[in-house]
């Protein structure tokens, strides 16, 4: 009935390819190189601020990105032929984790993580030459024009309209409408936008992918202040903005395809494991001094859960390295990774006790004398309030669950 002989035989045939949770020697050497860069070349003034929990400014962010460019690591997720690193999935993972552990600000995803891969995959040669080097050198600051006041989770319902015109032999689009939740648009040189070029068919088919210079006449950026008191996101209004037709990526009406490609591209680091580990380690240190068994239990629970998230990401990585195609499982990482970030920040607030009452805003007690209470109280609140966004952006966690329902559960 059950072939015993076959079972024993199988012992003899397959023995290589055993499970191994350790990185290769090459990967360990790479990790040490990243640590070395962090110790010596990660800008000191940025490190001092992030270590102290102070929100960094535009210049700090530029310095950080320029330092990465100088090392040749800006194109961390790009193939070599476009000036990227061509790193394996495991190197990409190590890079993200080490930067997070060191407390680096997240690499701004809009240029290198989002529009860059769309340009080198779907753009023409002229567009590649024009835009890619500036992304790698961080000479242009990009922002993302996806969400609209009436189009959030139902992104394909977007209404910002682009109409093709021709004047004096010049083809151009006239763009009217508005985008919202545009992160750091106040600093941006360019915006990549999903615009509606056709209303006749199903809503996904009439969308195009357009690159727009933020200095174009008719663009207005208005700040949206979030509940942490910070100015991170904006509304961007377009009134008869003239955009050269050569700024269209790929084909008109194919924007939805490119948009989906873009969302799937930023698969790694989505869980923010490195950054969460850093926060966890800080919390453990804080809580160990408080002698509070309730908080101790909570931090232990988070440590176990973070370990589960980390290994889930490694499983995805292993599947990729073995030639597999991870699918909707990356939605797990989005959901659990963001829940973890929020839970950690909330525990900072709880550990602050009654001092969670006082909040100076996102930039700390800049000019005032600091009041009594633990140093981490203000930072904890700022993080707690700011990180509410993580379960809302990038496809809200509810949308991620819809994706999992469809692709994993098949309902």
């Amino acid at each position: 009935m059950y072939n015993e002989a076959l079972f024993y035989q199988s012992n003899l045939i397959y023995k290589e390819k055993n499970m191994d949770i350790n990185f290769s020697k090459e990967d360990i050497a790479f990790r040490d190189e990243v640590r070395d860069w962090l110790a010596n070349d990660y800008p000191k003034h940025v490190k001092e601020k992030t270590d102290a929990g102070i929100t960094i400014n535009k210049e700090d962010l530029i310095d950080f990105h320029k330092a990465l460019s100088k090392k040749g690591w800006m194109g961390y997720n790009w193939p070599v032929e476009y000036g990227g690193t061509g790193w394996s999935a495991s190197k990409l993972y190590i890079f993200n984790k080490e930067l997070g552990l060191a407390g680096c600000p997240p690499i701004l995803p809009f240029g290198v993580g989002m529009v860059g891969p769309v340009i080198y995959t779907f753009g023409n040669d002229e567009q590649k030459e024009r835009f890619l080097p500036d992304i790698l050198n961080f000479n242009t600051w990009w922002c993302q024009g996806y969400s609209e006041p009436g189009s959030g989770s139902d992104l394909a319902s977007l209404k910002t309209k682009a109409v093709l015109r021709n004047d004096l032999d010049e083809d151009y689009y006239v763009v009217n409408g508005s985008k919202t939740w545009t992160t750091l648009a106040q600093n941006a040189d360019w915006i990549f936008c999903l615009v509606r070029t056709d209303n006749s068919g199903i809503k996904q088919e009439g969308i195009s992918f357009l690159l727009i210079d933020m200095k174009s006449p008719g663009i207005e950026v208005k700040p949206i202040i979030t509940i942490d008191g910070d100015h991170e996101v904006n509304s961007v209004f377009f009134t008869d903005v003239k955009v050269p037709a050569k700024n269209l990526i790929g084909e008109e009406g194919k924007g939805w395809t490119y948009a989906k490609f873009l969302l799937a591209h930023e698969r790694f680091g989505i869980a923010g494991v490195g950054a969460s580990m850093r926060q966890l380690n800080r919390l453990k240190e804080i809580i160990s001094k408080l002698d509070n068994s309730d908080l101790q239990k909570k931090v232990n629970e988070l440590e176990v859960a973070l370990s589960a998230i980390e290994i889930t990401e490694l499983r995805l990585l292993s599947a990729l390295e073995n030639g597999g195609h991870p699918g909707a499982e990356s939605s797990i990482l989005k959901i659990k990774g963001t829940e973890m970030q929020q839970a950690l920040s909330e525990l900072f607030v709880e550990a602050s006790g009654e001092y969670a009452l006082m909040y100076p805003g996102p930039h700390g007690y800049e000019n005032n004398d600091k009041p009594a209470g633990p140093d981490y109280a203000a930072e904890g609140l700022s993080g707690f309030l700011n990180l509410r966004k993580t379960s809302i952006y990038g496809g809200s966690n509810e949308i991620q669950k819809n994706i999992l329902s469809k692709f994993v559960l098949g309902v």
Binding site: E4, Y14, K17, N300, T312, N322, V411
Partner: protein, 363 residues
């Protein structure tokens, strides 16, 4: 870095799955649970024929030399089928303890375990000792008389031999004796998940040096490692249960129609099933980490088994409770398999330290 099972391990899993599908469906299991025996001798013999009873033992002892990874695979699949045969008790707790010891008669006993001709139980728990298994109140005195009471001895009623932890002059001793030795009395009960366990009293049971398996540090390490491996096994069982909980719930909701449509079409149920799927995947990740640490006998193996045990204790029960809820009235029917996963999760959490205990141990 490779977190995929190798071909041999995949074949092992397939073999166990096929066996459970054809020889161990839920009706068969119910038959065994309701019978006067605690398990099915015939099934146990089939386990022996498959080589499963020899799996974890070293090749010198006549075993297959498989490690914690293969044991985890076996227990995951046993968890899915809710197998109640006393593999944990005879093979893992008693067998691997003997195998790792220097006990003179171990080869003979392991050979009998491999062929399915003996059951041995490990008596490690006592009423007042909580989860501290290293300092039992049961004593072995200078004249080798054993006195004390052990509780929750898995499969105690079927054991020909009992391995007992005891204290001899403040040091831990592990001894083995025949269950029918004068002075041994056994009182047996059924467990919530359909197994059996016993309370065993020892009253001036006369032993001699030949009964001793290990003493002192050796005994402590042997016991700790054995319980740790057994904990890993039942966690793997829990992971199997969690996977089945969401698969069966999904299947049920796709077939159950209310308000003119399958209830799987309702988003509120979809998201709850997605949560079950996510919890099952995260538990699987912690299982992979823990079994590899145990396989490598790393310094952190206890820590990672504790992490896993605390996680499945909580999320496993949660998944099983959700599975019952989403099955509606059927979920609380004894005749449906789904409610039995909840009982299994209760027993898994209760064994070898519950979620709260391991969360503390972890740090």
């Amino acid at each position: 870095m490779n977190l995929d099972y190798n071909d041999e391990q995949n074949m092992l899993r397939e073999q166990i799955q096929k066996f459970c599908e054809s020889e161990y469906d839920f009706y068969k299991r119910e038959e065994i649970v309701k019978s006067s025996n605690d398990f099915d001798e015939n099934v146990w013999n089939l386990f022996a024929e498959q080589g499963w009873l020899s799996m974890p033992f070293s090749e010198q002892s006549g075993g297959l030399g498989f490690g914690p990874i293969e044991l985890s695979i076996l227990f995951e699949e046993f968890g899915k089928a809710l197998v109640i045969e006393p593999y944990l008790s005879t093979v893992v707790l008693s067998g691997t303890l003997l195998d790792k010891s220097t006990f003179s008669e171990k080869n003979d006993l392991i050979e009998k375990i491999c062929t399915g001709s003996i059951h041995i139980s490990l008596a490690y728990a006592e009423v007042d000792n909580g989860y501290d298994y290293l300092s039992p109140s049961t004593t072995l005195d200078s004249k080798f008389a054993l006195n004390g009471t052990k509780t929750l001895v898995l499969n105690g009623s079927n054991a020909e031999k009992i391995i007992v932890t005891c204290t001899n002059d403040d040091t831990l001793n592990i001894v083995v004796l025949d269950a029918n030795t004068p002075g041994v009395s056994i009182n047996s009960f059924s467990t919530v998940d359909g197994q059996s366990c016993s309370e065993i009293s020892f009253e001036n049971v006369k032993l001699d040096k030949s009964n001793i398996i290990a003493t002192g540090n050796d005994a402590e390490n042997l016991l700790k490692e054995t319980i740790n491996l057994a904990t890993l096994c039942i966690c793997a069982e829990a992971v199997g249960c969690m996977e089945s909980c969401y698969h069966k719930t999904l299947e049920y909701t796709k077939g159950r129609e209310q308000f003119g449509q399958p209830i799987s079409g309702f988003q509120v149920l979809q998201h709850r099933m997605v949560d079950m799927f996510i919890e099952s995947e995260l538990a699987k990740s912690l299982l992979i980490k823990a079994m590899l640490e145990v396989n490598n006998r790393s310094d952190e193996m206890y820590k990672h088994v504790s992490a896993l045990k605390s996680y499945v204790g909580k999320s496993g029960k949660l998944s099983a409770k959700e599975a019952v809820q989403l099955h509606g009235g059927m979920g609380v029917s004894e005749e449906m398999m789904i409610g039995h996963y909840l009982k299994k999760m209760i027993s898994i959490d209760a064994l070898f330290g519950n979620a709260d205990y391991h969360l503390k141990t972890f740090s």
